[in-house]
Symmetry: C2
Subunit: 200 residues, 2 copies
């Protein structure tokens, strides 16, 4: 709603995103201010606020431009198990890189207390990927390549442990961990598909 830069961006969009990204690397997400971004990018503060409603919105675009687009799509080589492994390894790599980590953690943290930002994040990052992934998963399930279960849950079983480590436990997310995780999830054999039995 508020200033989605759907039209064209500001003249020096790149300089601004670059400044924000650099400052985040130098000072950490929390210490970056809108003033500092404007100064570094040699841009007036009003220009900044004209196109982005908040610091978080700026960093959302930083992440979209430099992180998500190149690195987070589920590949498609025909071998689903392998694709999933590659995909989760991508997250591991991303969550291990200090700069990307700073950006993602700061952004997600901000989104926890900024509804506007959370919405934009889900619409621009989550949603676009989700739909395709679930379809792919469902297709692979139909072909017997993946455990027969709710595709949403299957996706979450793969993707949430890395996020949990990033945002909650702080444990490192290595490639070995990624592989171990994918192996475990691919080993699910539900006796009755979508079993639901109450605990008592």
């Amino acid at each position: 709603m508020t200033a989605t830069n759907t039209g064209r961006g500001p003249r020096s969009r790149d300089a601004i995103l670059q400044a924000a990204s650099d400052l985040c690397g130098e000072l950490g997400y929390a210490a970056v201010t809108m003033e500092a971004i404007a100064t570094r990018a040699r841009v007036g503060k009003p220009t900044l606020y004209r196109w982005w409603p908040s610091k978080g919105a700026v960093f959302l675009d930083v992440v979209l431009d430099r992180i998500v687009e190149p690195a987070i799509e589920l590949p498609d080589t025909g071998d689903m198990a392998r694709d999933l492994r590659t995909w989760i390894r991508g997250f591991a790599d991303l969550f291990t890189d200090p700069h990307a980590r700073q950006l993602l953690v700061g952004l997600l943290g901000a989104a926890q207390t900024d509804t506007e930002l959370a919405t934009m994040l889900r619409e621009k990052v989550q949603r676009p990927l989700q739909a395709g992934n679930r379809q792919r998963i469902a297709a692979a399930q139909a072909a017997g390549e993946l455990p027969a279960m709710d595709p949403v849950l299957l996706e979450e079983l793969l993707i949430s442990p890395p996020w949990y480590r990033l945002l909650v436990s702080g444990e490192p997310v290595t490639r070995e961990y990624a592989d171990e995780l994918v192996d475990a999830v691919l080993s699910i054999r539900l006796e009755r598909p979508s079993a639901k039995q109450p605990p008592r």
Copy 2:
């Protein structure tokens, strides 16, 4: 390091935590200020800063006192599968309650840009629970009640999807979802324990 209130708390500790909790319910985490907490609790600001270094630290104690202690321990009835179901259902209930949700999301969000707070959170919440849980899980695995795999990963497979929904996707965490999740994880049958094959 900075003012861990390890000694005894301030005289009106309860009034302060109550004020913080109430304000969070009324205004949302982000809108609560240290000033407001002090005023509401009829306490001087210096007193607040004497015992807690930041808003996040206050809310950490709120969560510890009113959320974690009562509600997050893995029960022990002898039936591990059932205990796990109860445990994850507990998280579902917690993440569904609007007040608890506000508190947890705000606190975790703040922890993403406050190292001090993140450390305290892990030491006071994560660590105490973790050790016991992993031991229980390992024992149950030895008894053949749970899939034979890294207990750390097994715990994460159960606990991270709810956290993911809370902090990343925003999807609701229902009891049905909790059950579905536990069923899926308990259905893991690793052909070769800890299989690792590179994707190419």
